[in-house]
Amino acid sequence: MLSGLGALVRKDLLRQVRDVKSLVIYLGVPLLLTFIMGISFGGGVFGGSGISAIPMALAGGDLPGGMRDQLTQGLQETGLFTVTWTDSTEAARLVAEGEVRAALILPDELMSRFFQGDDVVFKLWKDPNSQVKAGIVEAIMTGILGQFQAKEAAYRSLWPDDELGEFGELEEPLEEIFSGDPVRAVRALRTDDGALREELLLRFERGASFGQSMQEPALVLDLHDRQDWAAEDDTRPSRNLYDYFLPAFAVFFMMWGTVAIIRDLHRERENRTLARILTGPVNVATVALGKWVTAVIMASTQLMVLLIAGGLLFGVRVGDAPVALLLVAVATAGAAASVYLILGLVVSTEKAMDALTTVFTLVFGMLGGNFFPIDLMPPALHAVGRITFNYWGNRAFSEIITHGKGLFDVVDELLVLSTIATLGLIVAVAIFAVRQRRGVAA
């Protein structure tokens, strides 16, 4: 059985590699499309700042000029946004007319409200016609605010009884002391009142540690290094559309590639080699397994080549968890091979298989999130997407590539994919065996 399996796989691989035309279709065309996509969306060597920047407006707030500049600069340096400061009326118009994808409205008296511990409400207006880009803005802003709130919470939990409002006796408002000229703040310490000075020193110290905590990326929006930043927060979608499209398209190409390999079973039936094989010392299980192994080897190679090409040329992060990436590639290819093996075996001709698999691949590609992120679909369809094997492959790839996760974070996806692969293979062999019993296997 094992030597038979080896012979079958070796023969198939030899034929695939010898067949220049199919190699071109298998690797050349996907690579070309990857390249075009990379130039359009990607970063890295060819892509510059990556995806064309999302226009957004900022309005309101009473940020000191320095912070305002920092915020603008930080947002623009992500490469994702072009920022326009305006007032809230104008911002509303810009969003309504589609000139910006989103507007962030800062509350009035932002700083003093913040230092007094009042609620600070940011408003984000999204362009309803631009789900993806507005969604990216929303997710990023949510992330920034989340960090902000976390740090504030950390501070408050350290000093639960700290009420900044108490300092009425100070000559200047507290925020002036701590956000303004440091020399002035130090001068305020030269008071004769020893108790007050001690109190002030303590405040100063706490203020310094608070200030320090605000120096963290959330406030500064120090986002030059996109990759570190993305790794910190996994709730937001890809900041680079190519991060999403590369694995999604690689999986989609892989599905077609798998069809091409499994389809060979029908060619072998038509040229009678399958019948001849079945008169030899191999059973249908070995033949099915042989095609499966060939498909998995070819398809996972194809996936890895496309991902690595994307990584090398366009700076997609594929190298962080190579083992996880390879395992996901093999598991996804395995699930695909099993599913298409079933589809190939329930029909009797190559033509019928082509028709069936074409419809299937397009529908599954759509539902599973290979054309656009599945989160953009209505919740009902979202649930349907989970029955597709490619959904799980996409999800695992996106965890690794977009969110920088490792092997242990994709165990769920790997389990689902291997289950589909195993059960699918068993079903395929069963169908094949029934065909043989009826005399229509070959």
């Binding site: 023969k11 080699t273 019948a275 001849r276 019993r437």
Partner: protein
Amino acid sequence: MIEIKGLVKKYGSTVAVDNISFSVERGELFGLLGPNGAGKTTTISVLSTLLPATEGAAVVAGCDVAKDADGVRRRIGVVPQEIALYEDLGARDNLNFWGRLYGLSGKDLQRRTEEMLEAVELGEHARQKVSSFSGGMKRRLNLAAGLMHGPEVLFLDEPTVGIDAQARGKILALIRRLNEDGLTVLYTTHYLEEAEQLCDRIGVIDRGKMVALGDKDDLIRQIGDEDTISFLLPPERLDELLTLSTKWDLVGDVEHRRGCARLRVRDTARVLPEIQMWLAGQQLPLDHLEVHRPNLETLYLNLTGRALRE
């Protein structure tokens, strides 16, 4: 070596093989002769475990085809009627694959492949893609592929179909040689000459039924060793011929069909000149005067009332 009892194979309502029984001894070269659609391929498919029989039983090389398909598969070689090869691979790659499938590897595989390439005279084309082969070359490689693993029983399904006389001669010679080395062969064909030349025993199959079975020479003797003489004769002269023929010791009656008289005679050397003289004397045409020696064609015609190649 091969034993078939009451084999029936139906495709839906089509009865392709209808209650066939025969056996082939070890070392025998058995010919299964029949026209298109007779059921030859179907019989081989059942024997090679590709198709389940509808009824009946078959044992090949000691293994029951229904109960021990694996045992059968290990012991047989099959050369299908179609060229069942990978056209996108070279001759050597093809043979290597079929050898590996049966567990050959390394030096053994290499040696066997070269041996078979030599045997079918394709050594010079070993690297060439099969798609660029001529029909005869493909046929030879198709045969070699079925021999790679050294089977005990070889099923050959019309292995010479569609190739010229020279290529056919080579294939037949190889088969004869293999048989002399002890290989049991079941050979199907619709070429009479092949069966006559090659086989020890012959089964004639027609529309799924075995219409004759036995030793080749016995079968021919069955029809008798009389020759058949036929010539054109207008119907109104038949009476004269009948009177004349009483002294010729005929086998059976004189037949007259479509303006043609046929008579079966024991002593052709004596009768033929007399007929010629009579025809000449009567100013009747001499062309179309023919003498048939009995052969499988005659047998087939007698059995089915049809010519083998129609």
